[in-house]
Amino acid sequence: MEALQQLMMGFSIAITPVNLLYCLLGTIAGTIIGALPGIGPSAGISILLPLTFGVNPTSAMILMAGIYCGAMYGGTITSVLINLPGEASSVMTTLDGYQMALQGRAGTALGMAAFGSFIAGTVSVILLMLVAVPLVKVALSFGPPEYFALMLMGLTTIAGLSGGSALKAFLVTFLGLLVSTAGMDALSGHPRLTFDFPELLDGVNFLVVAVGLFGIGEVLYTAEKTMKLEFVTTTIKGVWPNREDWRLSWKPITRGTFMGFIVGVLPGAGGTIASFLSYATEKKLSRHPERFGKGAIEGVAGPESANNSSTGGAMVPLLTLGIPGSGTTAIMLGALMMFGLQPGPLLFQKNPDFVWGVIASMYIGNVMLLIMNIGCIPLFVKILKIPNFLLMPLIIVFSTVGVYAVDNSPFDVGLLYIFSIVGYLMRKFDLPPAPLVLSVVLGPMVERALRQSLSMSLGSYDIFYTRPITVGLLLLAFAMILWPAVGWFRDRRRRGADAS
């Protein structure tokens, strides 16, 4: 009950007018910035973080948590409406969300995403209070070999994510992994495949790839066809998902919430893996996997909940140990230090007002987001009514500035345009873009974990079958590979039986 008391204290801090204002400002600014095509949470936070310098730590953190949550949801809006993910974790949302928009169900997709995020966000804040301390012990037992097994499990599901030719999915995955190896190899300090560009030493930013392939690659395709994207705008009914939608979505939301929280707790894994493990799981468990990629609402509800829930999970190692669980919490950690707070195991004891104030305001932020978004979705959907000759240049301009603003790098702008050509060609050749983006994100993590493990064991492969969690995860990865084969045999046998 102590946690509950402290949470109450947190709420008393969070609902002071100043902090409430910061929370509101954060969610609004975050949503607006995130909803600008091409500008996602990472660009949003790197633009806004320096501006928060000088505010008192609690208020600044509340502002940032608001910006973060808002930008995440803003990214969902662009993913659904114009197929433009602002963050790696929204890539899965584009797969079915954009299809739903094309079918005139943009409002429903956004509504379900908002409800799913809200439910997941709420549950994850509660989980954060209840199980933070025991869970962090489990998270720490994850060393490089465990991460390798987890990432491998992620990789094995990539190829199965998109319908269509498996050969093409594999081809694209290899391409993405290759792109991800460019840059300075941290484990040896050697530059590789940088072709003497210093800008490439830190690797290719995933955002450049995602915005290039999805956003302005699509613009080029539209230029060729010069068609108005065929949205069925007449049937946009509203934002409230109907009973059938809820029937389909409640299980994915529940599973996504717990999966997201657990993956989020693991330092370094974060929302991307959570969202796409959720998508892969839903597709595998579904009785109609063929609906995925064609506008299945489960494909929006699951990953969106998992993603949102992982933000709560990521706060666990940050607040209990001072270790960031995701890229964004890493920036938040930096911000903490900027404000003169030392992150670490004593943060809960030394600055309880700060920690619980932030947790409580995350909750309030979730409520604000839900109200704001449900109210604004009809407005957002109007984006689809902007004529092409304005919308397309707008997407190009915002994408350009957004990609530039992440690292203030003109080089990234050039790279963005190159990837837009790649995206256009991939679209022409029917090559799925999602595996490429995801493998760019996962590639470095898999490689690093593998090589760290082998360094730890002085080159011996024993390390992969002498650690129980590693073995379990590796078996799960193999099961994921074998699952389609099992299904295929079962179908075949059944068909054989029918025929005879």
Partner: protein, 330 residues
């Protein structure tokens, strides 16, 4: 098309005359230099890290205490292990309206392959303001109670896993220097950043790691990590009981400097002016709070001393970097 090119040319020419007129006014006023347009404080890294906090603190002090009569906006140019930001600053040759935030990696970038053509020698130095010490630690459950235990185990041929940031970065240089001085070899494992290293250390996946005190002070207080040694010249006040490597007979001193530099070829009056400003920054309460919050050592080095310090650091580390196999090939 032709005419538009002409118009642009005219505009550019007009601007050039105007700006050169403005600049030529400077020397006329002779020795005294006063900035009359905003000074960009360039950070060669992303927001959140040590050099970003330094630049935000120093820049905001200059603005708030009116130490300079113009704004000092902070501009982030990360990438290429500092090389991208360094190239950006280097392009502003002769313009005294840019600062750079320097740290160890600013010097090592010129030694490793990261910055191909530019090194620390190609900039104007303003000053060094402070030093960030480095502490070596294990987790509390670790069997290594003292630093000597660790060295003894390494001498006995045990696989001592030392975690840190990328090879070529500060952690790896420190590990290699200690290994060399003590005559042992550590199994260095690179992680993506300080957070990942701390997680691996707390989980017992690595044996030992190093960090700036501010990053791990709470871990010591919370008894999750145990400090083993300090790589500083002298003990620090907040960790009184912690011995330095020198006291243990290992002759290694390694710290991170926090300094300011400027584009090459800026007027001497500007350098003198900024040296004075920097001194005034160090006298403010806000700067003193920053130093004590982060357990740093304040020390002012002027332009000339700063260059000497960089050169000495470059000389010391280039040997280690060559042994790590990451030195630039001629």
């Amino acid at each position: 098309m032709k005419s538009s090119v002409c118009i642009i040319r005219v505009i550019v020419l007009a601007l050039l005359t105007v700006s050169s007129a403005v600049l030529s006014m400077g020397p006329a006023e002779a020795a005294s230099f006063t900035p009359n347009r905003p000074i960009e404080f360039v950070i060669f890294a992303s927001p959140g890290g040590g050099s970003s906090i330094f630049a935000e603190v120093v820049g905001s002090i200059m603005e708030k205490e009116k130490l300079v009569p113009v704004p000092v906006p902070r501009v982030y140019k990360p990438g290429g292990s500092q090389a991208v930001g360094m190239a950006y600053l280097h392009e502003k040759k002769g313009i005294p309206y840019y600062f750079g935030s320097t740290s160890n990696s600013y010097v090592t970038a010129g030694l490793t392959g990261a910055s191909k053509t530019i090194s620390h020698k190609d900039f104007t130095d303003i000053a060094i303001l402070a030093f960030d010490e480095m502490v070596i630690m294990t987790r509390t459950e670790s069997p290594y109670k003292t630093f000597e235990d660790l060295i003894a185990a390494a001498k006995a041929g045990k696989n001592i896993k030392w975690g840190g940031s990328n090879v070529g970065g500060s952690d790896s240089i420190l590990a290699a220097m200690i290994g060399k001085a003590a005559g042992v070899k550590f199994n260095y494992i690179a992680f993506q950043g300080g957070g990942d290293v701390n997680a691996a250390l707390l989980g017992g996946h690595i044996d030992v790691a190093s960090a700036n005190p501010t990053e791990v002070m709470q871990q010591f207080e919370g008894k999750t990590m145990r400090p083993l040694a300090l790589a500083a010249e002298q003990r620090v006040a907040e960790l009184k009981g912690l011995r330095t490597l020198k006291e243990m007979g290992i002759n290694v001193v390694f710290n991170t400097f926090r300094g300011i530099n400027a584009p090459p070829g800026i007027p001497a009056e500007a350098v003198a002016y900024y040296e004075q400003v920097t001194k005034k920054v160090m006298d403010t309460a806000a700067f003193k709070k920053y130093i004590s919050d982060n357990f740093m050592t304040p020390k002012f080095l002027n332009s000339v001393e700063t260059r000497k310090r960089y050169d000495k650091f470059a000389q010391e580390t280039s040997i280690i970097l060559r042994e790590l196999g990451v030195v630039k090939k001629k």
